[in-house]
Amino acid sequence: MAVTGLLLVAFLYAHMIGNLKIFFGPETFDHYAHWLRTIGNPLLPEAWFLYIQRTVLTVAVIGHIVAATILTRRARQARPVRYAHRPKVQGSYAARTMRWGGVIVLLFVIYHILDLTTLTLNPHGVHGEVYRNVAEDFAPGRWYVTLFYTLAIVAVGFHLRHGLWSAVRTFGLQSPRGEFYARATALVLSLVLVVGYLSVPFAVLVGLVD
């Protein structure tokens, strides 16, 4: 869980920083998107880096889901008879919602790829015109897309708040002081990520990106 999760978080950060390029205008953003296809040139042919990255990410996602499934199945088997009286888990909301939150994020990722990678579900849907694709996608008339996007990003935020420090614990963090810093860092990193991602659709909504 920890290794695959941290790989995915690293990608989320790279992706978020790339997204913020949208605030530098259409040319910069489209140029950035095109540059992504040329990473590794001339060693790698065009777009090879992207496919290598996609393969690694897919393996990480599958590994993450397999590990989560094993843990969930073991948890079910470990408690065949449920409690008649069971108050809410006292731990954080984030810890409680790891499993269903993860499913929501997975569904969103599938939609997101169909929307902005293959452009199947995109209202503009022209390859290379990345800025327009995003701007039309989050147009005020399509508020339900923005809503789903917002929910998914918030779900990612909660998922990371528990996931990040939990990963550090898996790697062997054991001092109470380190624990405090790990929790604080996980919270800050999750918040930055949520704000970074949400800034794009809300910039479209208020007309900053048009």
């Binding site: 869980m1 094993i70 843990l71 073991r74 948890a75 088997q77 470990a78 408690r79 065949p80 008879v81 449920r82 409690y83 008649a84 009286h85 069971r86 108050p87 888990v89 006292q90 731990g91 810890a95 409680r96 790891m98 528990h162 420090w165 939990s166 614990r169 898996t170 790697f171 062997g172 963090l173 054991q174 001092s175 109470p176 624990e179």
Partner: protein, 248 residues
């Protein structure tokens, strides 16, 4: 005070059980939870019913025998308190209190609130010991132990093996118990020879017994009557990683 208890009744491991409600009248607020059950059992016996079976021994919070989930919380609502040290003054007159056994595949119910915790013995037998020559007590200064290590080892050693961590864990994991035992011995110079095999073997025994996996929810520490810190699980993970690395 008058209260009602809804207790899990199960005649034997193979018969399905159910929650049964009993009224308990005129119970002193100074009675412990187990004494309240004693009073209830006396009236059950007088009525010709089968008394409620529950584990108990020292009744002073150090043996780890008492094991019941009270209103959904292992050992009841008071922090760092075993059921025997929980008093009725923490409940209100007229309360309906749910009492259930530890729920875990690795802790099958024997009768009513009594569960079989041999799975913990299996984990201990897999490596929760040291090889030391027996005989007269060794000279205390022969093996110096740093104060910080001694303190942490002692904190881990306060685990009484009651199983509340498993009962509370949403995953039914025994990680806090195993972590406490591994830390307790691994921090001591006497525990070093088996440090690597201990962590691998005890975790294997834990998995074999049918406990779930840890997802760092932290429920175990919340209910632990001895307040074993969650950070020990990080120590267990670090020890495990080191042991596996040495093995290959």
């Amino acid at each position: 005070m008058d209260i009602k208890v809804r207790v899990w009744r199960q005649t034997d491991p193979d018969t399905a059980g159910k929650m049964v409600t009993y009224g308990v009248k005129d119970i002193s607020p100074d009675a412990s939870f187990l004494e309240m059950l004693d009073v209830l059992n006396e009236s059950l016996i007088l009525d010709g019913d089968d008394p409620i079976a529950f584990d108990h021994d020292c009744r002073e919070g150090i043996c780890g025998a008492c094991s019941m989930v009270i209103d959904g919380v292992a050992h009841g609502p008071e922090k760092a308190t075993t059921t025997c040290q929980l008093h009725m003054r923490h409940f209100k007159d007229g309360d309906v209190i749910d009492v259930e056994p530890w729920r875990a595949a690795a802790f099958p119910v024997i009768k009513d609130l009594v569960v079989d915790r041999s799975a913990f013995d299996d984990i201990i037998a897999a490596g929760g010991y040291i090889t030391a020559p027996t005989g007269a007590a060794p000279e205390a200064h022969a093996t110096p132990v740093p104060k910080v290590d001694a303190d942490l080892a002692f904190e881990a050693a306060t685990c009484i093996g009651c199983g509340a961590c498993v009962a509370a864990c949403p995953n039914g994991s025994a990680m806090l118990f195993t972590a406490a035992k591994v830390a307790h011995l691994g921090l001591m110079p006497q525990g070093q020879p088996e440090r690597d095999t201990r962590v691998i073997d005890m975790l294997q025994a834990q998995d074999d017994a049918g406990f779930g996996g840890c997802t760092n929810m932290g429920e175990c520490t919340q209910v632990c009557p001895k307040g074993i810190p969650l950070t020990l699980i990080g120590r267990l993970n670090a020890d495990y990683r080191q042991a596996v690395r040495k093995k290959f």
